[in-house]
């Protein structure tokens, strides 16, 4: 059995790697700059009036990017056209980098583009160091200059440059201060345009970045138990996930326990009275229950039983109520219990319907077997036949099912937690996805993967324990 478990665990490694790759890939594809997200205020958007301030902002950004590892290459290798430099990831901020990427994709001459980029920054710094007395004409020069940093279409660039030229022509003082740099900039733009090498864009080249990359650091710190820092409020992800997991577990486990307690007897009884009115009615009822969308029932319960509109506000409103700090887990559950009743109902009834259907099916199958007939023939009381002979054999599919709900538990029920405002895993991941808080999303997805796999393993073991015929080594 140990050998079997080891083999299974070994097979799960690629699965987990794939899950991590999917999560990482999604985080890379999402638009938006995580560094700016982390910094809360965009350092470049605050009014920068001196070259020192610009350098300060750049430094702040660079430091944040280093903390988050955003200044590293994304993955172990990359496949890019030959025209691309292999150090592009060092250019930060992200929107500047993306503009340059678009220029490369068009002209394919990094050398010239880099020169253009350098000169642009030079000019920006210089224009900031000019005295304020030049104000009026300086504004008409600076506005296109700022826009230039994000421009990449040829027509757009040319029109911005000519706008700046006009501003220079109007003001000789300005022309004296910046004229030389500006003509240099124009020359470099011409160079980018004139020395375009689009051919290089068609030659693939594979680059190796080594293990000092974002994915590697991310994955290995996860394996070490370091889930990173939330981009949203800079709290450690583990501190956010732990209470969320706690509430989700409380919610889902009680729902599951309730569902099993009700569903198993129901399923077994209706299988024992197959074809009777009781069986038909419960079958139909459970089927309807199964199709009843939980988020609808949740909304209805919330609307009718927690608001004053209909005079039936028996239950407290959404949320967990006030939970002062310093309570033990049990005290917290006790305080929040009235808030948990409705969500638990919403979570348990679909499971109830599903489990009792399975239980009925499994039981009906077992009751058709010869040994049941034998048991009846030897005059055992019906209760004994059903529960001791029948039920024990119908138990196995229920075990697999109990283990199969693990991913659902980890994810929480997003909609139910959303409706009742329960800060569980579903609620957390919903908000994390919307605020692009990728460290949290990544952790939730990975935890989901790990726990699913654990659930499957537990099911296997339970199966072997419950049924002595199962020999895992031969499976």
């Amino acid at each position: 059995m140990i050998a079997y478990l080891l083999k299974r665990l070994f097979l799960f490694i690629p699965t987990l790697l794939a899950v991590s790759l999917i999560a990482f890939g999604l985080s890379r594809l999402t638009p938006g700059d995580p560094v700016l997200h982390y910094l809360v205020t965009n350092p470049f958007e605050t009014s920068i009036s001196t070259p020192q301030a610009l350098q300060q902002a750049e430094k702040r950004y660079r430091q944040a990017a280093e903390t988050l590892g955003q200044d590293k290459p994304a993955f172990y290798f990359s496949v890019k056209a030959k025209a691309w430099p292999d150090t592009l990831h060092r250019i930060i901020p992200r929107d500047r980098r993306e503009t340059l990427e678009k220029l490369i994709a068009r002209y394919g001459n990094w050398e010239q583009i880099e020169a253009w980029h350098q000169e642009l920054r030079q000019l920006q710094l210089k224009s900031l160091s000019l005295p304020d007395s030049l104000d009026a004409s300086l504004v008409s020069f600076k506005v296109p200059l700022l826009e230039l940093a994000a421009a990449w279409r040829e027509a757009h660039l040319a029109s911005l440059l000519s706008e700046m030229q006009k501003a220079l022509d109007k003001d000789p003082v300005l022309a004296e201060a910046l004229g030389q740099d500006f003509s240099e900039l124009k020359q470099r733009f011409e160079a980018v345009r004139g020395k375009a090498t689009p051919g290089l864009l068609r030659i693939p080249s594979l680059r190796w970045h080594g293990t000092d990359n974002q994915y590697h650091h991310w994955l290995f710190s996860f394996l070490r138990g370091d889930l990173g820092v939330s981009l949203y409020d800079r709290r450690p992800v583990a501190d956010k996930v732990a209470p969320a997991l706690f509430w989700t577990l409380v919610l889902n486990l009680s729902a599951l326990a309730l569902a099993f307690l009700l569903a198993v007897p129901l399923g077994v009884w209706s299988a024992a009275r197959q074809g009777s009115r009781f069986d038909q009615l419960t079958s139909l009822g459970l089927f309807m229950l199964y199709s009843l969308p939980a988020f609808w029932v949740g909304t209805l319960l919330l609307v009718f039983f927690t608001t004053r509109e209909y005079g039936m506000n028996i239950f407290p409103g959404p949320g967990l109520g006030y939970l002062p700090a310093g309570l033990t887990w049990w005290e917290q559950i006790g305080r929040a219990a009235p808030h948990l009743i409705l969500p638990v109902i919403c979570l348990s009834y679909p499971a109830l319907a599903y489990i009792s259907r399975q239980a009925r099916g499994g039981m009906a199958e077992v009751l058709r077997q010869d040994f049941i007939r034998t048991a009846r023939a030897k005059g055992l009381p019906e209760q004994l036949v059903i529960w001791r002979h029948g039920f024990r054999n119908a138990l196995f599919p229920l075990i697999t099912m109990a283990a199969g709900v693990f991913p659902a538990i980890v994810a929480g029920s997003v909609t139910i937690e959303f409706i009742f405002n329960i800060p569980g895993m579903g609620w957390l991941s919903y908000h994390a996805i919307f605020s692009k808080d990728w460290p949290v999303v990544f952790s939730v997805l990975m935890l989901g993967g790990v726990l699913t796999i654990a659930g499957l393993l537990v099911a296997d073991i339970l199966y072997a324990l419950a049924d002595p015929r199962v020999k895992l080594d031969k499976a």
Binding site: T15, A23, P31, L292, P293, L300, P407, A411, V414, L445
Partner: protein, 443 residues
């Protein structure tokens, strides 16, 4: 055999006997249909679905702010029909239709649809959630909001009809994608289980190279063109070019491989097993290990513009695993049956055996899984729009109307009607799945 089975069936009246997979396909389908029809809930569900499909198809003629027919200054118009032509770019509206709303035109003769509102029409006189039973501020009973209005004054009945189309489209398109992927991958895994899918080393090598090149020329170098095309709103052409590049590269690689295989090289010509079962099942495991709704949410966070079509595609790409499992299990059974062996012995090509003999016999039970899958897809879409995702801001869906009920607890009609519609549709598809299960299982 099947003749005998049919006779017995006639004799016994109700109890049909499973004729076995050797029955001719048309016969089998007939038997299944007979049994399916005998299950009353399934029959009723089929009728309900037919009705819903009609509502979805003819929705524009049932609920629309434009008249079905009108006469203006002696000219005849069919505005609802004409809208289709306008959408297709074949016609345009005269200026007068922009100057006044459809309700206020000086018609000589006019015939409005039964519900004279579109899903997007805002009736500001009845904003702020008017109940179906209170007095509404309308000109006559003809303009009454039979199912009430929402906070902005949208007609709920019109929204429900527009939502029918969204729900059925999601179920249909998402599950078409899922079924296609599921059947293909499941069949691959089930039929070629023990490494019977063998390719030469040279073909494998060329395909790997092709994969690399397709990635580079198909995606990496066209990335920016695609982004720009999407900004200008003609992404379709860019996607088509990408698809053509990728398909062309793989086609070339395989044509080349075919030529080279003929040379009979000793090393590169050697055949390797591909173990599709292993790969496909790993993929299924990965997709099943991630909580579905979360993955869906994450995918939708990547595409900025929310559109119900993205939702369909993403649901389709995530929900094929169940069908693939089913298909695989079914083919594992079928491939060992005598008639497949016979077909192999007769020297039929693998492709012919797979597509003409094995797949048709395994496909029936997959229908069950598809039917349940449609129910799940509709449920998933409505939970997404309930969470405020998927359907674009101006679009309507059942889940979206339902989500308004959370903010307006007094407006029970915002919760009851759309939820009831979701329930009805989901139940209908589930009951059909159940009916198919009964029809296919001997019991």
């Amino acid at each position: 055999m099947s003749n005998k089975a049919n006779k017995t069936m006639e004799m016994q009246g109700t109890a049909a006997i499973w004729p076995g997979t050797t029955a001719p396909q048309h016969r089998l389908a007939g038997v299944i249909w007979q049994r399916f029809r005998r299950h009353r809930p399934a029959r009723w569900s089929a009728r309900v679905l037919l009705l819903l499909a009609m509502v979805a198809l003819l929705g524009d003629f049932i609920a629309n702010e434009k008249p079905l027919y009108c006469q203006l200054e002696g000219r005849h118009y069919f505005p609802v029909l004409r809208q289709y032509a306008v959408d297709a770019g074949l016609a345009s509206w005269e200026a007068r239709f922009f100057q006044k709303s459809w309700r206020e035109q000086p018609y000589e003769v006019v015939l409005f649809p039964p519900i004279p509102y579109s899903a997007g029409t805002i009736d500001s006189a009845n904003s702020g959630c008017k109940s179906p039973f209170t007095t509404q501020n309308t000109a006559s009973w003809r303009y009454r909001h039979w199912l009430g209005t929402d906070r902005l004054g949208h007609d709920i009945a019109a929204g429900m009809i527009a939502g029918t189309r969204v729900a059925l489209l999601v179920g249909l398109i998402a599950m078409s994608i899922a079924t296609l992927a599921g059947i293909l991958l499941g069949a691959l895994a089930g039929y070629f289980r023990e490494g019977e899918l063998r390719v030469t080393r040279i073909r494998l090598l060329l395909n790997l190279v092709a994969f690399f090149l397709a990635w580079f020329y198909g995606i990496e170098t066209q990335r920016f063109d695609l982004a720009e095309a999407a900004e200008n709103g003609n992404a379709a052409a860019a996607w088509l070019r990408i698809f053509a590049t990728v398909a062309g590269i793989f086609l070339l690689a395989n044509l080349l491989a075919r030529q080279l295989e003929r040379r009979g090289w000793p090393f590169l010509g050697k055949r390797l097993s591909l173990f599709p079962d292993l790969w496909v099942m790993r993929l299924v495991e990965v997709l099943d290990a991630i909580p579905g709704l979360l993955l869906l949410l994450a995918f939708l966070a990547v595409v900025q513009k929310s559109s119900v079509y993205y939702v369909m595609v993403v649901i389709g790409l995530l929900r094929w695993t169940g069908i693939a499992r089913y298909m695989r299990a079914e083919l594992l059974k079928v491939r060992n049956l005598a008639y497949i062996e016979a077909a192999r012995a007769m020297g039929f090509s693998t492709r012919r055996i797979l597509f003409r003999h094995a797949l048709p016999n395994a496909i029936g039970p997959v229908l069950i899984s598809v039917s349940f899958g449609i129910a799940a897809a509709i449920l998933l879409e409505s939970s997404l729009s309930f969470l405020g995702l998927g359907v674009a801001a101006e679009g309507t869906s059942w889940g979206k109307i339902l989500s308004d009920a959370r903010e307006n607890p007094a407006a029970w009609w915002l919760a009851v009607f759309p939820g009831g519609a979701i329930f009805l549709t989901v139940t209908a598809f589930n009951l059909i799945g159940e009916g198919l299960t009964r029809a296919y299982s001997p019991e």
